[in-house]
Symmetry: none
Subunit: 489 residues, 2 copies
C-alpha cells in the first residue's frame, strides 16, 4: 500500500459533474489537484463547483478545514497525471472510451501510482483488461455531489491487489468519505443496482401517465427517503416488523413479492418518454436555476448530515470521525507561542452590512477554545469519558472589522485556573496585523452525567499548568476583567 502521508498531488482526468466534484473534494481536503479535460470552459465549470463546495464544507467543518490545495487546469492528459501521486478517471460511461484513456493515463503516470475510476457500474476486470499493470487499477465510485456525499464504492478487478484497494480506501477516508467494499464484482456494483431498479420503475410511472416527476419525488422525499437517509432499507423494515423483527416482516410482506407492484422490465426510453420526463422536470423546477437548486441541495445535505452528527449515526458518524481526525491534526503553529487557530472569513459569516457577523466571531472563538481543549487533552475523546468544559461566561469586544475571505489568526492566553475553572483570553488578528476582536471566557469543568462541576482529570490539570507557567510572565491583556457600561446620559 502506498504511504498516504506521501500523497500530495491528485491527477484528475475528466471534469464533468463528477470530475469537478472530485477536484473540490480533494482540494478542500488539502491536496493539490491537476485536472485535464478538453472542454475549453473547464476552468469556469470547475471554479463554479469549487465555489459551491467551499461554501458547503465551510458550513460542515468550519475552522477544522485544512489549508485548501491548489487546483490547476493541465494543458494535456500527461501534464495532469505525470507528477500525480494518485489518479482518478471520471469519463462518460462508455467502456471503449474509458479503456483508451486509461491506457494513455498508464503510459504517462509513474509506475507505482494507483489509478481509480469513477465508473458507475462498468466492471473493473473488463476496464483494466487493456492495461499493462491492471493490479494498480481500482474502481472508486462516488455519488453527486462528490464534495458532500460520503459514499464511495471500492471494487477491484481480478488483477487488483489488496494494496491498491487499501490505498484508495485510506485516501478517500482522509477526504472525509465512507468507503464501501464491493466484495463481488457485478454490473452496477451495489448502490447503482438499487438506484437503477427504483429509477426504471419511476420511468415506467411517467411513461404510463400514472404520476409526474414531481409527484414521484414527493412520494420519496416525504416518506421513505427520510428513513433511507440514515437507516437504509433492511434496518427500516426490521423495525416495521415490530417486536417480532425481520422474520415477521418477511412473513407479512413476503406474499407482496407475488403482487404486481413493479413492472420489473426495463422501459424503452423513447423520444416521447424523454420529452415527457424533461418537460415535467422543467415544470417541477419552476424556473429556479441550477446554481440556486445546487445551493439548496447542499444546504439541506449539510444540515441533514449535521443533524445526523448530533446522533453520531450513519453519515453523521462519518462526519464526526472526520472532524475528530482533522482536530487531532491541527498543526502546532510554532511561530507564535500563543497562536491557536488560523482560518478565513466564510461567505456564510457575512451580514447585511457586508462585515463578519457577530455570532461568527463567537464561532471562531469557540473553535479556538475547542483547539485549546484538544491540546490540553480535553477534546472529544475526553468528552466521551463523561467529562467536559462548559463555557459559563464570555466577554467579547469588537475593535475592528473582517471582510469575506480575510485570513484570521487567533491567539490564546491562559489567565487563571483552579481545579474546576479555566479563565482564558483569545484575540483575533486580521490580515492587516491588527487585533479586530477579543474574547474573555470562564469555563467550568463538569461531570456530564451528574451535570455538575467536578475537578479536572490529573493529566488535564497538568497540561493546563504547563500553559499557565508558559504564560505567567506575559503581560495581562488590557481587556481582561473589563465590564460594559457607559456614563449616565
Amino acid at each position: 500500500m502506498v504511504d498516504i502521508a506521501a500523497i500530495r498531488t491528485i491527477g484528475l482526468v475528466g471534469g464533468g459533474v463528477i470530475g469537478a466534484g472530485w477536484a473540490a473534494r480533494f482540494a478542500l481536503a488539502g491536496y493539490d489537484v491537476r485536472m485535464f479535460d478538453p472542454d475549453p470552459a473547464i476552468g469556469r465549470k470547475v471554479e463554479a463547483v469549487l465555489g459551491n463546495a467551499r461554501r458547503a464544507q465551510q458550513r460542515l467543518l468550519g475552522a477544522l478545514l485544512p489549508s485548501e490545495g491548489t487546483v490547476t487546469i493541465a494543458s494535456s492528459l500527461a501534464d495532469a497525471v505525470a507528477t500525480a501521486d494518485f489518479i482518478q478517471e471520471s469519463l462518460p460511461e462508455v467502456e471503449t472510451l474509458k479503456q483508451r484513456v486509461l491506457c494513455e493515463i498508464e503510459a504517462a503516470a509513474r509506475p507505482e501510482v494507483v489509478i481509480g475510476s469513477s465508473t458507475s457500474g462498468l466492471l473493473p476486470t473488463s476496464l483494466a483488461s487493456v492495461l499493462t499493470n491492471p493490479e494498480r487499477f481500482v474502481v472508486g465510485h462516488p455519488f453527486n455531489p462528490v464534495y458532500l456525499l460520503p459514499l464511495v464504492e471500492i471494487c477491484g478487478g481480478t488483477a487488483t491487489t489488496q494494496a491498491t484497494k487499501d490505498t484508495a480506501t485510506a485516501l478517500y477516508t482522509a477526504c472525509g468519505m465512507q468507503p464501501l467494499q464491493v466484495r463481488v464484482e457485478i454490473d452496477g456494483f451495489i448502490a447503482d443496482r438499487l438506484l437503477e431498479a427504483l429509477w426504471r420503475e419511476a420511468l415506467w410511472l411517467v411513461n404510463d401517465g400514472v404520476a409526474t416527476t414531481s409527484e414521484i419525488d414527493d412520494a420519496i422525499r416525504y416518506g421513505a427517503g427520510l428513513r433511507w437517509s440514515f437507516m437504509g432499507t433492511f434496518l427500516t423494515y426490521r423495525l416495521a416488523g415490530g417486536e417480532a423483527g425481520m422474520r415477521h416482516f418477511l412473513a407479512q410482506f413476503g406474499p407482496a413479492l407475488k403482487l404486481p407492484w413493479t413492472k420489473l422490465v426495463a422501459c424503452e426510453l423513447t423520444d416521447e418518454l424523454t420529452e415527457a420526463v424533461a418537460a415535467q422536470s422543467d415544470e417541477q423546477a419552476a424556473g429556479i436555476g441550477l446554481r440556486e437548486y445546487e445551493q439548496k441541495r447542499d444546504d439541506c445535505l449539510v444540515d441533514v448530515m449535521t443533524a445526523l452528527k448530533a446522533n453520531d449515526f450513519a453519515a453523521g458518524a462519518t462526519l464526526k470521525a472526520h472532524g475528530d481526525r482533522l482536530a487531532a491534526r491541527q498543526p502546532v503553529l510554532a511561530d507564535d507561542p500563543l497562536l491557536m487557530l488560523a482560518t478565513r472569513v466564510d461567505a456564510a459569516w457575512i451580514d447585511y452590512n457586508g462585515h463578519m457577523t457577530e455570532w461568527a466571531y463567537l464561532k471562531v472563538f469557540g473553535d479556538t477554545t475547542d483547539v485549546f481543549l484538544a491540546k490540553i487533552g480535553a477534546g472529544p475523546d475526553y468528552v466521551a469519558t463523561g467529562h467536559s468544559f462548559y463555557t459559563v461566561e464570555s466577554h467579547l469586544r469588537h475593535v475592528g472589522q473582517a471582510r469575506l475571505g480575510e485570513a484570521l489568526r487567533v491567539t490564546t492566553q491562559v489567565l487563571g485556573c483552579d481545579t474546576k475553572r479555566l479563565h482564558i483570553a483569545h484575540s483575533i488578528t486580521g490580515a492587516a496585523g491588527k487585533v479586530i476582536a477579543t474574547a474573555e471566557h470562564m469555563l467550568v469543568h463538569v461531570d456530564s452525567s451528574a451535570e455538575r462541576s467536578a475537578p479536572m482529570a490529573p493529566a488535564v490539570a497538568k497540561a493546563v499548568a504547563v500553559f499557565m507557567q508558559a504564560h505567567a510572565n506575559l503581560p495581562r491583556p488590557e481587556f481582561a476583567g473589563r465590564s460594559i457600561g457607559m456614563p449616565q446620559s
Copy 2:
C-alpha cells in the same frame, strides 16, 4: 366534504405497527381515538408506540403541540367505530380479510362517516366492491413511523367521491401530514412501486451473495438516501445533469437502461433466503433492541426534519407550515412586555456535548438585536441609507442549557443610550421557564461610508427614547455591568 372542525373522535380498526402509529398520530394532534384489535396485548403495544411518539413529537413541535387526545381500547369493532367521526382500517394485506372487516365497519358506522384504509397497495375499487356505500371509502396509505413521516397517499376507487378524498386530505393535513393524490388507481400506488422495485433488487443481492443486508443499507444511507430525504430522484438527477439539466442526464444515462444493472424479475422468497436475510439482519442489529433502534430512528427523523425546516424545503416545509398553523392558534404572547423573539433550538446549533453551542447563543442574541433594531426603525432599510448600529462589546453568561428543538423566548431591556450609543440586555428563557443565558451589548451608531460613529437619525433616537422611558422603572438586571474574574489560585 365533512366539516373537519366537527371531527373529534377517530375509530381505528387494527392495531399493528401501522394502526398503533395512527393512534399516536391522531392523539398527538388532539383527536380522541377508539381502537379495536382482538390481540389481548393491544393496550400495551399501543402504549409503547404512544410513548415513542410523544417523545418525538415533543422534540419536533414542543410547546406548539395541542392537548393530547384520549386513546381508548374498544371492546368490539362496533364499539370502536359507532361514535367515530372518521374511521381508519389497518389490517394485514389480505384482500378478503379487509373486505370482510370493511363490511362490519360499514354496518356499525354512522352513514356519513368517511372510511379510510391503510392498504399499502390493494386497489380501492376492489376493496370497496363489497360495500353498500363505496363512495365514502378511500385509501389513506401512511408510512412507518406513522406519527413522524409526513407522507400519506390518497387514492380513491371508481365510486369514491371528491368530498370523501377532500375530507381525508384535510384531516391528515390537520395532523401535520403531507397528502399525495394518487390520480391513477394502480397496484402499489406510487411510493410502494418504487420501494418494491428497490426491495426486490435488494433481496436479489442477498440471495446471490453479492452483499449483506448491512452493506446494502450502507450503500443507501451514505449516498443516495441522503439526497432522497429532500429531493427525490428526478430533481436529484436533474442536478446531476449539470448545466444542461434533465435532457443531458437522460442522454448520458439513457444507455445504462440497456445495461444489466438490475435483475428485474421477482426473487423467490425461499426458506433459505428468509433465513439469510433474517440472520444478517440480526447480525446487523448487533444486539441492540427494538425500542432503542426505534428511538434512534425517531431522533434522526426529528433532527433531519428539523434541519430541513431551517431550509423550508421538502418535509421541512410541511413541518414549518404545520408549526405555523399551530402557532396561529396559540394565544398572543401578551404576558411579557419585553418579549422580543421566540425561536427553537436548531439541529445545526448542537455541539458534541449534545447541547446548544456557544456561537448559537450569540446568533440568537444577534437575531434579537436585529428585531429590536427593526422596531426602532434601524432595520435593513435604514442600513441601506448608509447608517447602522455596530456591536462593539458583548458580555454573555451561560446559566443553563438548551437542547435540540427546545422553545426559547428572548426578552430585551434598554439599559442606557446617548446620541451615538445604545446599551441593551437580552435574556433567553428555555422551555422550563428558567433563564438559560443573558447578554449585555454596547452598540455604536455609525456612518457606514465614513466608517466612524455618528448621531442616530432623529426618528431612531425618538424610538429609542420611547423604549428607555418604558423600561425606566424596571429593575436593572443583576448581570449588567459585571466583569469576568476569579480569585487568584
